[in-house]
């Protein structure tokens, strides 16, 4: 039967979800704030509702989103990632209003979203954990607890928002002075971002690989994993390049990590799609980090290597269908790499290029190439949202083939107007360590020269620039 499904999100993920809804033959409903009134997701969805002027407040406003859902008469809501995706109150509000929330139940989000509770669940299930504190007490007492923990385990440590996720609300602390200065700031930021100012500390595992496992579970508790991903190449905890499967050569270890992920999901009564994140240190010890209770930005790489449409599966599971495959059915074939092409200037501290208009947009195509974007030629990037323009995902039979394909696609990708991360990725993928698969979360810090590139211009383009200048100034300013 045709269902009406709302996408409570924007940007590329809104489009991604709308596509899955439409492929399933359901009706898609988009919502938007004013700065997004020229966005693609509104045009592509079957219906669209305006929430308010925003920015970034209406997408986060549970009452407004629920009211819009009721007005449109939707059966289900897919939250995407970010915004309300991991907000248990939102899941709860859906449940209370008889709307299907496409994701785990609110109490699971609540439990896993609270990092301290999550750690307790995992500890009880025998999952390896990085040393850490519970949520710090309020005020001076919390600071005292923090100082005490650091004395015992040593610096550096990570200061994290208990309700945070996706790399947000995390800061590295190297000494006590910094610790004291940052706790109040982290609390304020957490309050603003997650409406919860609880923070906690965790021992920092130096130069780990970030390995994560995609899991899927149906209502009967059948839980499978879709293999591993390596998301080690990050900047300030924001992932830039994501790979499936992990390049760790010890397959037994990777299998063990994947099995642990399933165990962790079961221990938390997990339902629907999720991601179990691990840190793997240089001695190949692995530690549970967290479970993200939503679809990830980088879900595309898993889809490419397994052939399973994760978002479609999410919707079907939420509508009560059982998993249509078991663990044995899932095969990982070849490699996939996703790069997040952001409107940022890598050479200026990855400063966002919001407010600029995409004057030329020419995307690559061909075998093994997937694009998840939402911008178009003439689109002005709103300054108030994140800077992701398009995710480029390539799939190949071997690692080398995949890297070659990515290089070809990046070379053929033309985006002018804003500066983008494309030239930076071209440098990354030609780095010998990257090619060998030898990288961890310190990759950018240990390879600063990757930012030292020049915009290379062909002779034809250089002369075209001169012709453009003559045209614009109505005479050659260099020949006067």
């Amino acid at each position: 039967m045709k269902k009406k499904i709302m996408v409570a999100n924007r940007g590329e993920i809104a489009l991604r979800i709308i596509r899955a809804i439409q492929e399933l033959g359901h009706i898609s409903v988009a919502i938007y704030e004013t700065p997004d009134n020229e966005a693609q997701h509104i045009r592509t969805a079957d219906e669209a509702l305006w929430l308010g002027d925003g920015p970034r407040c209406d997408y986060l406003n549970i009452d407004k989103v629920i009211a819009a859902a009721r007005k449109a008469g939707v059966d289900a809501i897919h939250p995407g990632y970010g915004f309300l995706a991991e907000n248990p109150d939102f899941a709860k509000a859906c449940e209370d209003n008889g709307i299907i929330f496409i994701g785990p139940p609110s109490e699971v989000i609540q439990a896993l979203g609270d990092k301290v509770t999550a750690r307790r669940i995992m500890q009880e299930a025998g999952i390896p954990l990085v040393p850490g504190t519970p949520s710090l007490a309020a005020g001076e007492e919390g600071v005292r607890q923090a100082v005490e923990f650091c004395k015992q385990h040593g610096y550096p440590v990570m200061l994290k928002a208990t309700a945070g996720g996706g790399g947000r609300g995390i800061r590295r602390i190297d000494d006590e002075k910094q610790l004291r200065a940052e706790i109040p700031v982290a609390r304020a930021e957490a309050r603003a971002a997650f409406n919860n100012d609880a923070v906690f500390l965790e021992k920092l595992v130096l130069t780990p690989k970030h390995i994560e496992v995609q899991i899927m579970a149906d209502k009967d508790g059948n839980t499978v994993h879709l293999g591993s991903r390596d998301c080690s190449i990050q900047r300030r905890n924001q992932k830039l390049v994501e790979i499936a499967p992990s390049l760790i050569k010890d397959q037994a270890l990777v299998d063990k990590i994947c099995e642990t992920a399933v165990k962790a999901a079961k221990a938390s009564n997990y339902f629907n799609a999720g991601t179990v994140e691990f840190l793997v240190d240089k001695d190949l010890n692995y530690y549970f980090m967290e479970i993200n209770t939503r679809v990830q930005v980088e879900h595309t790489v898993t889809e490419m290597v397994t052939g399973i449409d994760i978002v479609r599966t999410q919707i079907k599971l939420a509508l009560g269908k059982p998993l249509a495959f078991c663990q044995e059915d899932i095969q990982v074939r070849g490699y996939a790499i996703e790069v997040r092409i952001n409107a940022e200037d890598p050479q200026n501290n990855f400063m966002p290029e919001g407010g600029k208009t995409v004057s030329v947009y020419r995307s690559p195509g061909g075998y093994g190439v997937r694009l998840d974007g939402f911008v178009y030629q003439g689109y002005t990037i709103p300054e108030v949202y994140d800077s992701l323009l398009v995710k480029l995902t390539v799939h190949g039979f071997s690692w080398n083939e995949t890297v070659d394909r990515l290089r070809r696609c990046l070379n053929n990708f033309v985006i002018t107007g804003p500066k983008t991360t494309i030239p930076f990725y071209l440098r990354v993928i030609d780095d010998p360590d990257f090619k060998k698969g030898e990288f961890n979360t310190s990759f950018l810090d240990t390879h600063p020269h990757l930012l030292d590139y020049e915009d290379e211009e062909t002779e034809g383009n250089k002369l075209a620039r001169l012709i453009a200048e003559i045209h614009y100034r109505k005479q050659n300013p260099y020949a006067v």
Binding site: A181, A188, E459, L463, A479
Partner: protein
């Protein structure tokens, strides 16, 4: 009779010239470009003409030197060495000729000896015939160039500059030739350099005859300009008196101030029984057929006053100086004073300053002084630095007589005698530390320079660096035709420009639409090799050499940090102010939070660099700040 070709030795060349029963022609493409087109004829055009010019069988093609080397890099963005290399590829036989201003090289002021020698050595790799002159006919000023040319095994062509007036006798010039020969020896060509096209055919015939009487073996190359319309007459007289080489130019481009048309000269002399050796008239015609279509693109650079100027015999301005004097007058708004300047003041100044030769850089000194005398009212009351140097004798001694004392007094003041005593006379210019200059250049361009780049830099430091940067940004633009580079007005929508780049790759560029934002930024869309490209132009930016006020410079990261240390806290990146944690007058300690900025969802505290007091708060909660914007000022505690 034999055509003279590139690669012949100096002795072989001179033997051919001496034995020739006819005369030879030099195609003065460079002088034509300088005299009638402000030196703008592009390499692109010379390359078009290369094949028929090569076939034409000239004694030489004068294609470099004079002001052209400076204009090559300053206005035409072509490497003067690359130009010669590319022409040589297409013209393997033709001798290439240059015009060198002796100690002033290709510029306007004397250069150090070691620079002169290095520059000549580098150019001698490409240039076969070296015409060398000095505007005071002061032979010592030319010696360094003479020596280097002869050492390089190239043909040396010293010039005597010619002018008119009671002092300009045959005896004077014959004696000058003797001075030159004493330095160079017999194996040279002597140029009679009539840059103004002065005198009558009879006067030139007499002079050439007088030189030949004294030095029968000497090979004379007559160079003249057609400003008064009578250079063909002077050329005929010169050849009849025994000149072996004459200067003329392609008729498709001949104008009013340059040398006359080759075919006119050749046909006229033919009637007098003198044949041009090795010259293929059909190829001369073909050259002009090829060039004719290009002339329209140079129209803007032609003199705004058309027609010959017989009054050159009064004002004596050389070649292109006549044309550009009117341009200056027009730009300077004193066009109405031109008759007074050209026909009264300039001849008067010439006489007062010693009746030397009105050619670079002397012609510029005379012109500037005459203009200043008329414009300022107070004659010699506002002397240029170059006039002072002339009077001090920095360029060399006056050839005939010293200017009168009142001029010195006017220029230098009451104690002029002391000044002349102390500062007067030529002084040896100290050698330049060339290795140091090479390192400086390397720093400026961020790469080890080639010897050729160094040579351009030593002559014109700023313009050479600007040129190297231009090439880095825009590539080698000589491949573009004058219809593009000298375009007036925008291109048509849909207009297609095709060209082959320096490496040989074909490109096609189609002009697309253009749009301007509300903030004034213009986007120019071009289809470059079938890929759409957009080029942005900020309204306040000014490009090229026109200059203009640039936008206020942004603070660098380092500057922002330095200001912060001093208590002037600026936004280190673009962000929103999400909290102001202090109030004006509040006491703060090192590390206390002053402001919190938020960018891309990350909050960053700005903390106090010192113990002190909050003096000023510029930031406002919720406001967007750009890098370098003021946030808070803190003054240190005492």
């Amino acid at each position: 009779m034999e055509r003279i070709v590139h690669g012949m030795s100096v002795n072989e060349t001179l033997a051919n010239l001496r034995q020739a029963t006819g005369y030879y022609v030099t195609n003065t493409a460079r002088d034509l470009s300088q005299s009638d087109y402000k030196n703008r004829i592009l390499l692109h055009t010379d390359l078009l003409a290369a094949k028929p010019r090569e076939a034409a069988g000239f004694f030489s093609l004068e294609i470099t030197g004079g002001a052209s080397i400076h204009v090559d890099i300053l206005r035409k963005q072509v490497d003067p060495f690359l130009k010669l290399e590319l022409l040589r590829e297409r013209m393997p036989k033709t001798l290439f000729q240059t015009l060198c201003r002796g100690i002033n090289l290709f510029g306007y002021r004397p250069y150090p000896q070691n620079v002169i020698r290095l520059v000549v050595r580098e150019f001698a790799k490409y240039v076969d015939v070296w015409r060398v002159f000095d505007f005071l006919n002061h032979v010592p000023n030319m010696v360094a160039v003479f020596e280097e040319v002869q050492k390089s095994g190239k043909i040396l062509e010293p010039a005597v500059c010619f002018s008119t007036g009671p002092e300009h006798t045959n005896e004077f010039y014959v004696k000058k030739v003797g001075e030159i020969l004493a330095v160079t020896g017999e194996q040279i060509i002597l140029c009679v350099k009539n840059h103004g096209g002065l005198g009558t055919p009879k006067r030139i015939g007499d002079l050439v005859d007088a030189i030949k009487q004294k030095y029968p073996e000497i090979v004379i190359h007559y160079h003249g300009h057609n400003t008064d319309g009578n250079d063909v007459g002077r050329i005929v007289a010169a050849v009849q008196a025994g000149a072996k080489i004459v200067d003329a130019s392609d008729h498709a481009f001949s104008g009013y101030y340059g040398p006359p048309s080759i075919l006119t000269v050749v046909n006229t002399l033919s009637e007098y029984g003198h044949q041009a050796v090795g010259l293929d008239e059909a190829a001369v015609v073909e050259t002009s057929e090829v060039l004719r279509g290009e002339r329209q693109h140079y129209e803007f650079f032609e003199s705004q006053f058309k027609g010959n100027d017989p009054t050159v015999q009064i004002h004596k301005l050389p070649g292109g100086a006549a044309g550009s004097s009117f341009e200056q007058a027009s730009k300077g708004g004193f066009l109405d004073k031109m008759p007074a300047i050209l026909h009264q003041e300039l001849p008067k100044v010439q006489k007062e300053l010693g009746n030397f030769w009105s050619v670079t850089p002397g012609s510029q000194i005379l012109w500037t002084t005459a203009v200043s005398n008329v414009q300022g009212g107070d004659r010699y009351g506002n002397p240029s630095g170059d006039l002072k140097n002339l009077l001090l004798g920095k360029y060399g001694p006056f050839p005939f007589y010293q200017p009168e004392e009142w001029i010195y007094e006017k220029v230098f003041g009451a104690d002029w005698r002391e000044i002349i005593e102390k500062e007067g006379g030529m002084e040896a210019i100290e050698d330049m530390d060339i290795d140091h200059e090479r390192r400086e250049l390397a720093k400026k361009i961020g790469a080890e320079p080639t010897d050729q780049q160094l040579v351009s830099y030593l002559q014109h430091p700023n313009d050479a660096v600007a040129f190297f940067k231009f090439e880095e940004k825009f590539g080698k633009s000589y491949v573009l035709p004058p219809s593009v580079l000298f375009r007036r007005g925008a291109f048509r929508l849909g207009e297609v420009i095709k060209f082959r780049d320096h490496a040989g790759k074909e490109h096609v560029i189609e002009i697309g639409p253009q749009q301007t934002d509300e903030d004034g930024t213009t986007h120019v869309y071009l289809n470059v090799d079938h890929h759409q490209r957009v080029f942005e132009f900020e309204p306040e930016a000014t490009a090229g050499n026109g200059g203009g006020a640039a936008a206020a410079p942004k603070l660098s990261k380092q500057e922002i940090e330095d200001l912060a240390k001093a208590g002037d806290l600026r936004a280190p990146f673009g962000a929103n102010v999400c909290e102001i944690s202090v109030a004006v007058g509040q006491e703060v300690k090192v590390g206390d939070r002053l402001v919190i900025l938020e960018a891309m969802k990350m909050q960053t505290p700005i903390t106090s660099p010192m113990d002190g007091k909050v003096q000023q708060i510029t930031a406002k909660v919720g406001a967007a700040v750009r890098p370098g914007d003021e946030l808070v000022k803190v003054t240190p505690a005492d």
